[in-house]
């Protein structure tokens, strides 16, 4: 039972990490459509790091580092140049997909071998350090957003950046910090996919998890704990559909595979209009001179 729960947690963890970071980002008005690319880039370099050093911990750090680098690019474009966030995110996704696939093919393409690298060491009922860190990070995100001065300013930036600027805190700096948190957690999510869940890599292995993470933030109404719950729910439905497939109920696999996405959509429709969305989400901030 406990192991099943841990298994579910592990399966949902990559999305949950990324969604937690995205929650912080969106609270600051930053929507990171490039999450998928950050996760994928992190997954590749985490795998590479673990492979070359033999240390999954170092691998995970490599993953986070790469995601942070992509986050810096994102920040430069969205904050310095005030380019639309969705534009930059779309380009980053393309970039990461092209980069990782090209590098992977160059390095491993001809081998015909599946990649298998050291995974994060497990203890107890299949736990590992990152998995234990997940709830801690979720609590930290909630605490940081709602119980610290930084969080107040950050949320202000997501609602009405001019007010925070007038209060004396740089909008760009706060959004940059949110981008850093968001991309570090995206990196953790991608890295964990490679080193916590699979111990392996394949081209495009994130398979849309970054996009799902973005949807989960809305699903969880921009509150870290609820977002985590949303990730677990959708993860549970996703693993449930494999149970149903294995039971051989005769339902076409495609319909079952679509189940978690349809569920998320239905829930969003049911929750309906809410004022929870940060008012300045995805709105570039240009300081008046």
């Amino acid at each position: 039972m406990i192991e099943a729960l841990v298994g579910l947690l592990r399966f949902a963890a990559p999305v949950a990490f990324a969604a937690t970071g995205e929650t912080v980002g969106q609270r600051a008005g930053v929507i990171n459509i490039g999450l998928e690319g950050m996760m994928l880039g992190a997954a590749y370099f985490a795998m590479l790091g673990s492979l070359t050093t033999g240390s999954p911990a170092v691998g995970l750090l490599c993953g986070v580092g790469v995601a942070l680098t992509l986050g810096a690019v994102q920040a430069y474009f969205t904050l310095r140049l005030a380019v639309d966030q969705i534009v930059v995110g779309t380009a980053l996704n393309l970039f990461a997909l092209g980069l990782t696939s090209t590098l992977y093919r160059a390095r491993f393409g001809g081998s015909g071998q599946l990649i298998s690298v050291p995974r994060l060491p497990q203890f107890g009922p299949g736990l590992d350090a990152a998995l234990v860190a997940l709830p801690v990070l979720v609590v930290a995100a909630a605490w940081g957003l709602f119980r610290t001065k930084w969080g107040l300013a950050l949320r202000g930036v997501g609602e009405y950046p001019a007010a925070v600027e007038a209060a004396g805190y740089g909008v760009a700096r706060l959004r940059f910090q949110a981008t850093v948190v968001g991309s570090a957690l995206a990196g953790l999510g991608g890295g964990y996919l490679a080193l916590g869940v699979t111990g392996s890599f394949a081209e495009n292995m994130t398979a849309g998890r970054g996009f799902v993470a973005i949807a989960m933030v809305t699903f969880g109404r921009w509150r870290p704990a609820w977002v985590l719950a949303a990730c677990l729910l959708v993860g549970w439905v996703d693993s449930l559909q494999y149970e149903l497939q294995a039971r051989g109920l005769g339902i076409p696999a495609q319909i079952l595979i679509a189940l978690p996405y349809v569920l998320a959509l239905v829930v969003l429709v049911a929750v309906g209009k809410g004022t929870a969305a940060p008012a300045a989400l995805a709105v570039p901030y240009r300081r008046e001179r």
Binding site: V83, V87, L97, P252, Y261
Partner: protein, 336 residues
């Protein structure tokens, strides 16, 4: 004029830089890309054929984004267009083959339109942001396609996960049997003209732009903002669906799992690069089409995976938005 020159120079620079960074002999790389894109009739045809869905979907994105609707569901809408087209074709090819071609196009546009309209409706009436719903709808559409080509739309022998191939008589005319270039490119050109007219010379297009720039002004002038937004999504999805229908009728006459080659996603950078303007979309669609075609040439005769093309595209988009950072139109997001 000056901006056009800077743009062209920037695009070239993005290409050269990416090739150099990945250790490709730049001269050879460029000549491979140029040859793949324009070297001979095959290259030209390849470029135009790739540009066709990019332009159509790109126009769709431009319409939606102009109205402030961040439609990123072009992929799903393209797929649904193909599916709807295949469904109509299945019904019509036997009894009324003469009608099949236009009927497929209409069905494809309707399929895409309804799918995007759903996302628009969800935002307007239920407050679910289009950005989010179209992400989820993309996944759903791909699975729907996957199911349909194994179920109701599968070829009659029931062996392959594909629809039955359309007879040549139903498909678009091809200009040269050796190339894929088909009459569907005219659909794309017509769509450019019509969307330009829509945006700049009709009441509906004006309202759509106004709603995208400041929905509150529109509301204060008794414009039904929700209707304009849903309308924009319908047109947007219709264009993406139409792209699916055109590819279906023009290229392989079959729909299968891999029906969309990411056209719906690539259309976003196309639209942005084109400044959300139909003529700009035409130009950027041709550029991307050439890049895809040239990239295939590069991938085929150089050691690089076709995936490098994605890097080039991303660098080009980032480079260009950086150049345009100051003059780009900024949609105002509705805040209630």
């Amino acid at each position: 004029m000056k901006r056009a020159l800077v743009t062209v120079a920037g695009l070239l620079l993005a290409l050269v830089l990416t090739l150099a960074v990945f250790g490709v002999d730049v001269r050879q790389g460029l000549s491979l890309i140029a040859e793949g894109a324009f070297g001979d009739k095959f290259g030209v045809a390849r470029t135009l054929v790739r540009a066709t869905p990019l332009v159509l979907c790109g126009l769709g994105m431009a319409i939606a984004w102009r109205a402030g609707m961040y439609n990123i569901g072009g992929e799903g809408q393209y797929v649904l267009g193909g599916l709807a087209g295949a469904w109509v074709a299945k019904a019509l090819v036997g009894p009324a083959p003469g009608l099949a071609n236009p009927a497929v196009l209409i069905a494809a546009a309707l399929g895409g339109a309804l799918f995007a309209g759903l996302a628009g409706w969800l935002q307007v009436r239920r407050g679910v942001q289009v950005v989010i719903s179209t992400i989820l709808l993309n996944f759903t559409a791909l699975q729907a396609l996957s199911w349909a080509v194994r179920g109701p739309l599968q070829e009659p022998k029931g062996q392959l996960p594909l629809t039955e191939r359309l007879p040549d008589t139903v498909m678009f005319q091809r200009f040269d049997p050796q190339t894929d270039l088909h009459a569907g490119v005219f659909v794309a050109v017509a769509a450019v003209v019509l969307t330009a007219l829509l945006l700049w010379a009709t009441k509906a297009g004006y309202l759509l732009r106004l709603v995208g720039q400041n929905p509150r002004v529109a509301r204060a002038n008794r414009v039904d903002v929700g209707r304009a937004q849903i309308g924009a999504m319908l047109v947007s999805g219709g264009l993406c669906g139409l792209a699916g229908g055109v590819d279906y009728l023009g290229l392989i006459g079959q729909v299968g799992d891999g029906f969309s080659q990411n056209w719906g996603f690539l259309a976003i950078p196309v639209a942005l690069l084109g400044g959300l303007d139909p003529l700009g979309v035409l130009a950027s669609g041709l550029y991307f089409g050439a890049l895809m075609a040239g990239g295939e040439g590069l991938a085929r005769f150089n050691q690089l995976g076709p995936t490098l093309v994605y890097v080039i595209q991303a660098v080009a988009v980032l480079g260009l938005v950086a150049l345009n950072a100051r003059s780009r139109p900024k949609p105002v997001v509705d805040d209630d």
